[in-house]
Symmetry: C5
Subunit: 325 residues, 5 copies
């Protein structure tokens, strides 16, 4: 589906143009064209490929989707694949769905192809159009703006993972830590791996867009790409930190639950001892010997009961003191 | 066994030729020869080595098999070893069998030697012959097509490992997680290591076929090799992700089963306490003291039974509440 | 809030100057201006940006805070972000709060913007002013002095983590190692990760300030930056060492506590056996057979009691010897 | 002990020569001398050092042994240390003994010094003498042949480790997995570390013998050294794979045994419950209340026994169903 | 404290000279001065700094100590910090104390400053003076000799750690593995980390003293520094190996002890069952039913006892067979 197809001149919007006119505008050196597609049909994509003269391998990648995040040069055209991440639903522990945006950046055009992503980039276009002095930098700047938008959307996801971890951490050392903790930690790890999978290859790739030799379309906006790289690097660092804490938290949590269970067993064993002692005493006075003087005492029975009580109280307080009860 | 031996000119099939004529066609600059062998005899391989003038060390590697995946240059000839992976049987958890394809790529010939691999590359040849404009690129393109086919066959294996992992993950937190889970996770890890063993060295090696200086036969088709590299890199990334989740899953699963067992023990200990109390009470009223007033009560017996029942009901509900039962 | 705004000439303080005069002094080649802001308002920061002609992206970073530690070049201006760490309170196990200092270093000015940091850098300014021969090196030296101060404040934090670890290590092998140990180790790991997060990116970045090509403002004071790098590298090495010991300590501690619990269970089971034996003997002499000679013995009862005592003493000493009690 | 001292010309054996004549032959440009020592005395080694003009530091290394595997250049002489591995005895689980071969390779000589190694290199010499066209390549080729022989002897060791691991893996999930499994895994890991210790530094070092700039003596036989590197790399890869599986296997095995033990405890606890119930019932009918109607029933006794049996059968089948028995 | 201050000419000792004369001798091109300090006062160090013209940052490092091992260039002066390790006492498990030697190497002087180190370098000086032909190489060679001495003293420490590990490994699989094993492994790991901390940064730094461009003072003695590097690399490799085995050993040992404890619990549970059965039987014959034929049998009592014995013997042998006892 064609979302937008707009020509710009000197950073200002010229006009919405039909797809068939694209090649005319691309031929004008002072113009550039910005096209946005959403899950295009084969025909739509083929038309674009022809209008812009795109490389067949890159077109195939954009068509099929399911690429890894990457930034590639095909001669003077930059081809980028970014992963978008969105919560599958409003629920607090909804899994992440992974979408994809393929972007072609030429000398005077930029084409974005969005797959499996709810949220579009209308806001990016609006902001760019409000700042013509920046938009004048051309497709390279638009590319930055799109990339920046995708990366900015990682932050709330990262934040939610971080605060989920903190919530769980508070539960770890609570006495009756439920096994649901481990389940939550495991789910968090899965989420984190999805994020890591989106961030790490992109960080690596975006490192080539500033400093030293950069692709032609990035010349003049390198410092913006360094900014994006910086954000990715920061996310990467936080992911690594969370990952390590998650591993430790799972290890500690399994240990903690195991201790909880053992403690219950210990407690029950202590109670068993407390019950076993009167049983033994009763057994002794239940023996059928002819000659057992206590049996004939007037206070034999209360004495026996008292004996049981005394021993049990002693045990109870000793076990208490030893923290076995 | 000689599978195919065909000469091509300008991307079009010229003729099936006998092995003895190979050197004639190789001498014609506009032609190239594409030969496919399957577990060749020593004589067959020696004949090829002579016709093409192959390096003895490479020929030895192709003869013996059991090489690691690699891509080597012998002067202007490229020698590659790829690992093919096939399920040993139709069974869902069949182990993987590792085959091998050795490929020699010269200026105007390409020779593939297949070992321990059921599925051949007839489909690759057919597709190439349908696209003469691409096949015109010569042996370098054929090399790409073969490599691409081998790598494409890794994807279903990877997908099956991924979906197996997801199946097991759903079982981990189920109460009576069977120990068979761990067995399955262990088998999955073994499978993954076989795949990793095929992919990682090849990824490394194929990184040298594009960008910067590339072997002569790859000139002009570098972007295709970048595509293959990309696929390998994506597989590599997914493998690493699965590997980390597998480690966590095994750790969590061992923990979970251990908890399950502990819970049963805990439950049995709780029941033991419930049984021990009436035994104790009964023991007390089984004592033989002369002077035990309760024994003479009309309702002594029901009273004792009632006492037992009351204590046990109390214990039962307390244990319930503490989730010990 | 503007903390200080001072012009220096040849390493000597010239005068406190109003913000509006900054651009005049910056224009004088033999002068440099050193400005310190604390959580500035947007207007304050914008004024500075104008006076010094700062790059908008860097200004945004300084305004928003929450950057990762980094050192970036914007043409001939150096922009650095450092993390400051302070204990949240006087309590011995208070968590760390992470502040931030953004620093702009130009040819003849230096501007520091402090966020969420209690302790300022008045002491750094004082020391610099006492050593005019060093201050003569200009903004590069001041930058070193600020960085050195930030890094020096990491050392007491690192030391406290190290000594906390040593304290806990002494508790690990004590018999009744409390589970609080693990809690403390986990908290220590969290603290360590915060420190690591501040140190590692800064170490990486500061490695570019000496040797080979360095930014213009660092020329002549490179050896000072190597010194800072050295301190960071040393902290980094110690962090890695602590991190590894922490992992081992947690693993060992979970193991140790689990053993402690098991030992109690073992001990209780041994006592259960000791109680069970007299119960069994008593049960036997409680049977109602007509023909049980012992029952009629004069010393049957003491004999039975003696039998119980002998068996139990035997068990007690055997269990003792086997370290089960 | 001097094993061999032979002069070669154009790849053909010229004569066994006495050690004192070495310097004469080394001076003849078309000749080279190949000397093999086994645990030489100080005097033997000093004589060689003089005849060949070896560097004192290298001679010290060769004399003392216990070096790490390495390849060093002393001007135009190559000095290599290789580790040989041999099973200490014929027993299947015999530990590995680590020997050492120090090799000096000059423009027209090669000297090998063997320490703590049973098997010599007579077979290497024999094979070389059978292939004069290869031996014509001079000391560089002989160096390759020796290195190749050492590396080839690693393969059976690696294979035996691999098959040992497979044997143990089959035992892991068997119900009564003996703790001997863990012992075997630990021993396997020790063996693997010895192999890794021999292979890794050598692989690193041998990477410098082909491609780019290589030492003078390796010129012309670089492709042979790439072959050796390849073998080492393959061994390295397999070692890493085994190492990871070993770690997982140990983890899983400890878990499995722990489960086995827990299962026994669970089973015994279940049986304890089954025994406790009749004991309780018997206790109740052993009470001495005057008024217990059941006691006077004609079939009171069989009724009580029946009651016990019914409850126990119910428990037995329930426990069975819950897999507690 | 000034230990030694000697001037050398052409590798031969000229004279012990007073500190005040140093600058005279340093000015003579054919001489060099070798000074050794032990925990110098501020004044001593300041005097040296003046005589030799040392860089203030390096002097500060040497004064304060507690640096990481490093080798730095200050123009044409090399400044090195080495860590010395000494056992704190004669006891076999004495912890290591970490000392420090700071070394300044100029064109014709060398100054060593020793901190917290018992053993000096008198032996190094003695050996150097015995070999004037080597000492003629100047301060670079002396620097090598000192570094070599420090590194050589790491070997016995490494050996003792290795043999300690072997001793513990033999204890791991012994049935009643004491928890002291884990304590010993933990202490070993602490020791190892101290060694690693001394070795790794030094190895890294010393790699810059040979091959390619080296500091001026190392020219001509590069092969000696490669030798030192080699030793450090070997130690490093062994440390990594031990570290991995330690991790495995701790893991296995915790597992083994846990199994031991479980086994005892299992055994006690089995004995509990053996005791519970006669108790049950006795309970049954202790019931007060009117009509219990066995009670009136002449051999009822021996029959009951026999029944108990038979059941218990059966259980005993079954448990034995199942390795539960």
């Amino acid at each position: 589906m064609l979302i937008n197809c707009v020509a710009y001149e000197n950073g200002k919007k010229l006009a919405d143009i039909p797809a068939a006119d694209i090649s005319n505008f691309v031929a004008r050196p002072e113009c550039f064209v910005w096209v946005a597609l959403f899950q295009p049909t084969n025909e739509e994509l083929d038309e674009m490929a022809e209008e812009f003269g795109l490389h067949p391998l890159a077109v195939e990648d954009a068509r099929k989707g399911h690429q890894r995040p990457k930034i590639e040069e095909y001669e003077d055209v930059l081809f980028a694949v970014l992963h978008t991440l969105e919560a599958a639903s409003e629920a607090p522990d909804a899994p992440l769905t992974e979408g994809e945006v393929a972007i072609f950046v030429g000398r005077n055009y930029i084409l974005s192809v969005r797959h499996r992503t709810q949220k579009g980039f209308a806001d990016v276009r609006a902001r760019c159009e409000r700042e013509p002095e920046l938009l004048r930098n051309g497709p390279g700047f638009v590319f930055y703006a799109l990339m920046d938008a995708v990366v900015d959307r990682y932050f709330p996801i990262l934040d939610s993972i971080e605060s989920d971890l903190e919530d769980i951490e508070e539960q770890i050392f609570v006495r009756n830590a439920a096994r649901s903790n481990i389940e939550a930690l495991y789910a968090l790890k899965q989420k984190l791996m999805v994020l890591k999978h989106a961030v790490d290859p992109l960080m690596e790739a975006s490192g080539k867009l500033y400093g030293g030799r950069v692709p032609q379309v990035c010349v003049g906006v390198q410092e913006y790409f360094r900014d994006v790289y910086d954000h990715l690097y920061r996310i990467h660092g936080t992911i690594e930190g969370i990952r390590e804490m998650l591993t430790t938290a799972i290890q500690v949590n399994v240990g903690m639950i195991s201790l909880s269970e053992n403690e219950v067993t210990k407690k029950l064993a202590a109670w068993a001892a407390i019950i076993a002692v009167p049983t033994m005493v009763a057994g002794i006075y239940g023996m059928n010997f002819k000659n057992m003087p206590e049996l004939d005492w007037a206070f034999g029975y209360p004495f026996a009961i008292g004996l049981m009580a005394v021993i049990d109280l002693y045990l109870y307080f000793r076990f208490r003191k030893a923290h076995w009860l």
